[in-house]
Assembly symmetry: C2
Homo-oligomer: 394 residues x 2
């Protein structure tokens, strides 16, 4: 047997899976913190809010009342109904509970959707920059991610025109995220409809990641489910409902696929966490919605503070992000190597940022992601430190 650094046999897919660069930043951050430095964490992709109290309370009640057995692979009926009702009330869209599959986070939702759609060698169109795990899921199933470079001209979104050009005989899926991670931009309903029409025309499928829905500022998101019953949508309790560690999400699929998804879910997951499912029943209660809407306003205030402050420091943000809790800043006036820049900012200003490299191959060196998952007071401190680091005074 070889040493720890060289596994004797390693699947080829692992060569496609780069470690997250931000992990190196986090390791360095922990070293600084161990040495007593106060590091401001603007690299973390999860809210700094605790799970809303009514959800925690529902979990507490379920611990007493519910035997923690496996559930149906599709999820407990009450939660599927509650999600269906949420689509009716929030979006004015009818989505039958029978099309909703409760999953172990949106991670599982994505694997199930790709699992029933994708054969080895099939291609999936993805925006670059984008959430890096998406292309790794495609690799895991033997598919081929086709990264389509996007920039400010399309608001960092993969639009139908670019998707049509990139579409080949092996393309099966166009996947978009609205709001997007890392850019926070949304697709317009007309743009989603055009993508759905393209996929339909080419005999493929549109798959839309809506996990940052609810965290949009100044405008509400509309769901891609409006664009037709043949669209796949993934969503999550993680971000808007602040339930990251509970690992619960859902998939809305065309009716024709539900039985197949159920079979795959039975085999790959058995079922999602029983306790998380019962807790999530409280997510749609008015008391919870009041809490998460208040937090949404707080996130909007953070964005509105940070955008002009970063621009004043020399970052360029050509497209104002609509949602999520990220700013994808062009730092090319400050550096051509955002990874080196992130290390310097950490070392000298004690601020952790995520370099563009983590989101793809299209101009990563001139971009950096700033997550506003810290209170405004911390963001003010971060801006002051950055100003000092950049020699701009403050």
């Amino acid at each position: 047997m070889n040493g720890p650094s060289a596994p004797p046999l390693l699947a080829a897919r692992m060569a496609h899976i780069a470690p997250f660069e931000v992990m190196e930043i986090q390791t360095l951050a922990r070293q600084l913190e161990a040495g007593g430095r106060d590091v401001i964490h603007l690299e973390i992709g999860e809210p700094d809010f605790r799970t809303p109290a009514p959800v925690v309370e529902a979990a507490r009640r379920a611990l007493d009342a519910v035997a923690m057995n496996y559930t149906s692979a599709l999820g407990i009926p009450a939660l599927r109904e509650a999600i269906s009702a949420f689509y009716r009330e929030r979006y004015r869209v009818e989505v039958p509970a029978g099309r909703i599959v409760v999953t172990a986070g949106s991670s599982a939702a994505l694997l199930l959707a790709l699992g029933v759609l994708l054969d080895p060698g099939d291609e999936v169109l993805l925006a670059d920059p984008g959430y890096p795990c998406n292309r790794h899921f495609v690799h895991a199933l033997g598919g081929v991610p086709r990264l389509v470079p996007v920039d400010a001209r399309s608001r960092y979104q993969l639009l139908a025109e670019a998707a049509a050009k990139a579409w080949t005989a092996r393309t099966r899926i166009a996947m978009v995220a609205s709001p997007s991670n890392p850019t926070g931009t949304m697709l317009e309903p007309g743009e989603v409809a055009a993508l759905a029409a393209l996929a339909r025309e080419r005999g493929g499928t549109l798959l839309v990641d809506e996990i940052y829905h609810g965290l949009t500022y100044g405008r509400d998101a509309r769901t891609a489910l409006e664009a037709g019953e043949d669209v796949f949508v993934i969503n999550s309790f993680s971000k808007y409902f602040q339930m990251t560690g509970w690992r619960l999400g859902w998939l809305v699929a065309p009716q024709a696929y539900v039985r197949e998804i159920e079979k795959l879910a039975q085999n790959l997951y058995i079922s999602a966490s029983t306790l998380a499912q019962h807790a999530a029943l409280a997510a749609f209660e008015p008391a919870t919605l009041a809490i998460v809407e208040e937090r949404r306003r707080e996130l909007a205030a953070r964005r509105d503070f940070l955008l002009p402050a970063l621009e004043a420091l020399g970052f360029r943000i050509p497209v104002k992000p609509d949602g999520a809790f990220y700013i994808y800043a062009d730092c090319s006036r400050l550096t051509q190597d955002s990874f080196a820049f992130a290390r310097e900012v950490l070392g000298q200003a004690a601020i952790a940022l995520t370099p563009g490299k983590d989101f793809g191959f299209h101009e990563p060196g001139r971009h950096i992601r700033i997550a506003y998952t810290q209170p405004v007071a911390r963001l003010e401190k971060a801006v002051a430190r950055l100003a000092a680091f950049l020699g701009k005074g403050s």
Copy 2:
């Protein structure tokens, strides 16, 4: 778009994934129950015990004390350490916490192990009969399951001699389960060592499912980790600790693979349930172990009641199961079609059983799985009903 029964595009892998036959039995059972019949469920693969109170109590404390954020993809350090300590205390084997990966059930442990080891077209040797999900995981990753028929002569286990014969140039993994589902039989330590030596000699890997450890009767299981640091082992909190719905398990991997497994887990799962991880810290406490050991004695009593009773009814059980909570009975003196038999037993005796078809292709028609996940009083009732159904009086 086609109708609900025909998805317009379907991945080829789905053709390999048969629905569980037992689902049809369960649907029929629910219909009977809706009509007022008292169905005895001997088809269910999870214990009828509630999660032990100290584990539930630990979850309750964590709900107050712990922010439910993502954890490290490898699991919280305290739980990895606790599992390592459990190997030391229970098995007298040193397994560093650094080799232990906490996963979203053993389902995730298996996908991660296969994910880092298996390229498309690579073969995995599996015993037939066996747990059907295993071969579907292999398919999901583009691998090829090679089912090796096993019978009473090898105690329904895949032994080194048969594995050596089935091994081809494309074989990468031999996977065994001890105790096995559906047969409940264990491998002897010498048999595990021979499999590990074979895998080593052929440049492959031995992967051992130990999820029913702790539920063995009359003898304790030894872990395959004794057989070398190059063996992969998966385990779970589901069965012995009665935490099925919590979705928590673990993988022990050779040190050389841990970094790769971490990368894959970050991408495919992010992390396992935070609450479940904190709850599971209480699994190894003396109070919990006292509860699960008492339940183990209860399961032993059920097995010891059911084995002779079934034999008296005409079932043949050529190998006494060592563990799990299953009896894999040869029903060929009663029927040549165990699926039809299961439907008749349900309709006429209101007992739900799992037909052999769910476990593979080797003589499924003459086998049936009986799960003793019900109290002895219910098992007595089941035996009386079976006797009446078979015209044996009681």
